[in-house]
Symmetry: none
Subunit: 208 residues, 4 copies
DNA sequence: GATGAATGAGCCTTCATTCAT
DNA sequence: TATGAATGAAGGCTCATTCAT
């Protein structure tokens, strides 16, 4: 990559970082390009030299942050050989990531939670992202199956929902009402691990 | 209440119902007063005869729906004498409510999850609402304490978070990716009940 | 038509008149909605209560003015029984119309001359308008045929072009360099009538 | 002219050629400097190394093309000794020129026709250009006078208008509705020559 | 000389809100 | 009370132009 391109890429990163902060704090619709520009330290028009539209910028922000987060998830799970270790790894990664970049969590939550609150067009991409997220945590359940804790021929769907649900509930409480993040995550992990066998037992056979 | 006032109140309800549908479908910022008016079947200006602003309308919508929902929660919990029955009652109430009024859940989620996605000013009211929600499900844990499943002098905060987190994760998955609601709620309840003792055991002493 | 509609229609006419003046003076691209609003005596946003876009307003202006002009053309030709009288009628109508509403001629010329200078989308409508214009002056040549001045089985295309060309050249000179309109039209009419037989004689057989 | 200057002049020509194509196709206002740059094969900023503004570039384009065209006109008229030959020469030159460079005709028409469609400020230059154009075809009428077809002490103004009007009407029809150029020009020339005596007879005495 | 990047000004359009009827 | 109409205040986006490299 030439020098020019590097500089450009750097600027893109600065914009994305500023935009992440703004979008995370105000949501998509309430954020204005002028606000993002001010946060970046440039003129509004400058943003359009890097992104063709507000929506494209938003999508880039979500994709980038989510990509970084998911890469960490994958790495964390790669280093865990048992089901329990996987869950621990996932929660630890989340905690680290959340503390470093609260804004990130905010945008990602915002985006994932509310396809309908973001711009219409990128809905598909966001849904794809949700799918990617679920795929990334798949190894957790592969290990559960390998360890005999979970039958392979069951509908695992609710497990994904619950793992992410308990995980995110802690960060939501942290962001929304200022609850203790570490404690929340600890409790969430405990609940998930302790309740897992019972849930596994009630899952119906694979279907849709 | 005079006849005049009754008629007015009726109109208010019609508007709120229409607004709930619109806000639930599009979110606060993406919804326009014109859209709400069209859904109500009146002119935009008419809305201002009943609500001083878009924000006030939104707040009213959230408050009303949440109030109805919470009344149901309270009723459901009043009729349950044990911890387990309480949890069952809560989930059943939720399921019934969600199926009847998907839009309601959408707005409430939207509102609760993201103070920042709604209008800035009403944040306080929404936070108050969250507190009310938590208070409404308090009886669940009172029963757990009464049954000796939970020590009274512990920080119950994470329990509230987790109960609501598991509950809502199911409806989120239902709304966002079309997951099976009944199955999701069943799994969530199972997880919560089975994992509860373990979580209760790791809760730290009362603090904040 | 109710009173409401009448008032509305009246406002539409006021806007169209103001817009005709502005578009006629500055052309489509150089005119701004703010300028039109100022000429109308209202706020910019008000225009959007009557027209969905700048382009729609422009199209309406052109269509309306052209429609009025063509109605006059048709009427003038209906009252003329000979070829020569037709041509006289056409020129007289044009002169009257031009003096009354110079702006009209400007917009129409602008629009007709340069589909590509107006908004892209309405190009088709403008081409259709050109076709309508040509159709409106058709009777002139029907009479020429009836009087034996013109063979029916010839390509009349160049005649249309020349009749309008001589006619418009006079108004163009009037608008652009301040030439005398009456004199110009007189000369144009004289040229057309005197040269017509010669042109009719050189027209090729009907083809495309 | 040094080598350096020659190279510069060459670049100027490349830009003017590209700009002529763009302005001819889209008109002044709808053309962007970026579009011109792309057509030239250089960066937008580069254009400013050769022209101080968009307007200056437009003016240069018009002046250059018109200059080339008028030089041809002058040459054609110089080689024609009679009135009729002059008119023939003019039309032939026009036909050759138009077929070679349709874009040229487009820009020139655009510019001449509509001072208001080009940039406001250069109106004077364009008016001067119109005057130059008229001067260039002056010899046609000088010959008419010499041949006794036209009285010298009359207002020749309408003749200029009509000669150019008939000429241009053919190319307009060609450009706008795809009419046959050669046929149109033939008809136009025929009309002009055949009708000329009659017009000459009705011209008033010299005045403005 | 050439260009990528930056930007101020401006344009079209939307929308919450007000007001006269 | 209901509403059509009017509007100020943005907001997203474009573009001619400048400047540092």
């Amino acid at each position: 990559m030439g020098l020019r391109e590097r500089r450009r890429e750097h600027t893109v990163q600065l914009i994305v970082a500023a935009a992440a902060e703004v979008f995370g704090r105000r949501g998509y619709h309430a954020s204005s390009m002028e606000e993002v520009a001010k946060a970046t330290g440039c003129a509004t028009a400058t943003l359009y030299g890097y992104f063709p539209s507000k929506e494209a910028l938003f999508t880039k922000v979500v994709m980038d942050l989510m990509g970084a987060y998911l890469a960490g998830v994958t790495a964390a799970l790669a280093g865990a050989s048992t089901f329990e270790a996987s869950v621990h790894g996932l929660f630890e990664h989340f905690e680290r990531f959340a503390e470093e970049q609260a804004a990130v969590i905010r945008v990602v939550h915002t985006a994932m939670r509310t396809a309908q609150l973001g711009p219409t067009t990128s809905t598909d991409e966001i849904l794809g992202l949700i799918a990617t997220y679920r795929a990334a945590i798949g190894p957790v359940f592969d290990r559960a199956v390998a360890e005999g804790l979970l039958a392979a021929d069951r509908n695992h769907e609710p497990l994904y929902t619950l793992l992410l649900g308990t995980l995110h509930s802690a960060s939501d409480a942290w962001l929304d009402v200022g609850a203790d993040l570490r404690l929340g995550l600890h409790a969430a992990r405990t609940l998930f691990l302790a309740g897992f066998p019972a849930v596994a037992a009630v899952l119906p056979g694979e279907s849709s």
